[in-house]
Assembly symmetry: C2
Homo-oligomer: 343 residues x 2
């Protein structure tokens, strides 16, 4: 690996001059500048990022901590962040927390040793991000929290408008004539789960519909969670004719449970998910879902982080991205009986 000294010798200038042309840190005479650039090109020289980082006390790396890249919603988020980071000369160090706060903490601690310019994190369950990233903020590194927020988070954040998305979905179900609704929420210590529940409830209130607490089931954000809670919901009397699932994985499990109970979706039970994952297009029936852009989530977070890195010290930004309803075939008009009896 060539280094600055060699470039300096080739260009017959001093070490300092090379540094100056590389960083535009001083006006260097054009002919000299060209000589240096020529040498750089000739040997394919690249500044050693370790030496640079050591000296500047900051690298061009961004730590990204997510629960699990294997969860179908997160790859797009990572991709969005990587695209923006890459095109600005930053690289992503990817870490999986498995939704476990102790693993998240381990990553947080070990990442510090690389002096990253900043962090983008989707907090784990029971994350104590606010306290744990204090070291970073004190060191001048930005921390952007996305998708869901830990309690007391007051730093930069990017989230989808979960409340609004859930509201849209629920209102759509109501407009289809459903009056006995149910929802399967995510873990309610996660803000995105509670926000979606709020949206669901607001739509119900708006339609003056009431429902007992047993029609709200809390589950993990996965297929199993959706499956087991749906089984419970389908045994209730009156049986719900429409279910709002807090994400598509839950909806997938719900679909399975509906089928196993000998019922049909959407004829007997309508279903709407959240996230609008690709797999929703190919299920049977295809899944109606609240659409949010994971890519945008990641890209926006990277944008904010870069602005912080460039020196923006303004107040915390809280970006909330819009959602839209993708209508496919998993929700239909309420069964006749329901409509005639209750309306």
């Amino acid at each position: 690996m060539p280094n600055m000294k060699q470039i300096a010798k080739m260009a017959r200038v001093s070490l300092g001059t090379v540094s100056h042309v590389l960083n535009n840190s001083a006006g260097v005479r054009e002919p000299v500048r060209m000589r240096v650039l020529e040498a750089v090109r000739a040997v394919g020289y690249r500044p050693n990022q370790l030496a640079r980082g050591l000296r500047r006390v900051r690298t061009s790396m961004i730590g990204m901590i997510i629960p699990d890249i294997t969860n179908p919603f997160f790859p797009a988020v990572v991709r969005g962040a990587e695209d923006i980071a890459f095109s600005n000369g930053y690289r992503l160090i990817l870490c999986n927390s498995d939704n476990h706060h102790s693993k998240e903490l381990a990553h947080l601690n070990e990442l510090r040793a690389y002096l990253p310019a900043g962090l983008i994190v989707i907090p784990s369950n029971f994350s104590d991000l606010t306290a744990q990233t204090d070291v970073y903020r004190r060191a001048g590194a930005g921390v952007v929290c996305i998708d869901r927020l830990p309690t007391n988070w007051s730093g930069d954040s990017v989230t989808a408008n979960n409340e609004q998305g859930a509201y849209k979905a629920t209102r759509y179900l109501i407009q289809l004539g459903h009056t006995t609704l149910a929802t399967i929420t995510g873990p309610l210590h996660l803000t995105n789960a509670t926000d979606r529940l709020c949206g669901f409830k607001r739509a119900l209130r708006g339609a003056k519909l009431k429902l007992g607490p047993e029609y709200v089931q809390e589950a993990t954000f996965d297929k199993n969670g959706g499956y087991s809670k749906t089984a419970i919901l389908l045994r209730l009397i009156p049986r719900p004719t429409a279910i709002f699932a807090a994400n598509d994985m839950i909806a997938l499990g719900a679909l399975l449970a509906i089928r196993e109970a000998g019922l049909r979706c959407p004829e007997d039970v309508s279903l709407i998910g959240f996230d609008d994952l690709d797999l929703g297009e190919t299920t049977n029936p295809s899944l109606s879902s609240v659409s949010q852009s994971g890519y945008q989530l990641g890209a926006t977070a990277a944008d904010i982080l870069l602005s912080r890195i460039k020196g923006d010290t303004g107040p915390a930004k809280h970006i909330v991205l819009g959602t839209s309803l993708t209508i496919r075939n998993s929700a239909a008009r309420a069964p006749e009986i329901e409509r005639s009896i209750f309306q």
Copy 2:
């Protein structure tokens, strides 16, 4: 950020001693050792990875270059690699090449500046990895190539047994009574695509079945590719009664095309994919597919890389992972007519 000097002062020893206990590079008396460790714990000291890397001319980072994290097969690969890397103290720098060799090259060049201990790469289309990673190998960094191999690759590699997987799938279709088969391959400059085609052909030869070249369609590894090529296949006379798709995304497109042609899967056309993605469980009909473990692919690559980093200088390893057939509902016995006419 505390540094070694502070630890040395706290433990009342010299800087060198601290380094020795941290690296076990010299026998340090137990009481002194304890004093140092105590100080380390007290302030949460972590060796600065940049300084360490600069000095050692090698970091604990592994560069991972993949086509696109958004492709549903790759997250598992990344996860497998990350798990093994993490538990050995290594971190992953993730890069997306978008299957473009120039972007791959850019990543290759820029990653060098971080002095990664090694590289794990899924080569892009028309990759010239062999030449481009020469610098790395000369610098003593390992490079492991996975999933598909560029031409002339002679270094470490981990791939699935694509030929065998395709053979199993095709033989299964033949055993179901199909005699007019077709396949949609991936881009044939990719080794995994050609290997799968070879397996398909071997099974045909084994059953003494012949088929014209128009029954082999080359497509990109995605839904669109599968859709358009299936449309072509379905217009052939005699129409194929079974299609082996080189991956699940292609199969998904095929499913769509079959449905649009007014045909039923599997009654009119049987279908088998490759990769066994999660989404295959929820399609209608659910997708039979050749199963390969992306996680294992990534984890094995990381294992090999770590052994190289630890000094293994043995001959290149070529690990080939097994495949299995996951049977669901997209393939059925050949239609009666076909069986009676041709058998």
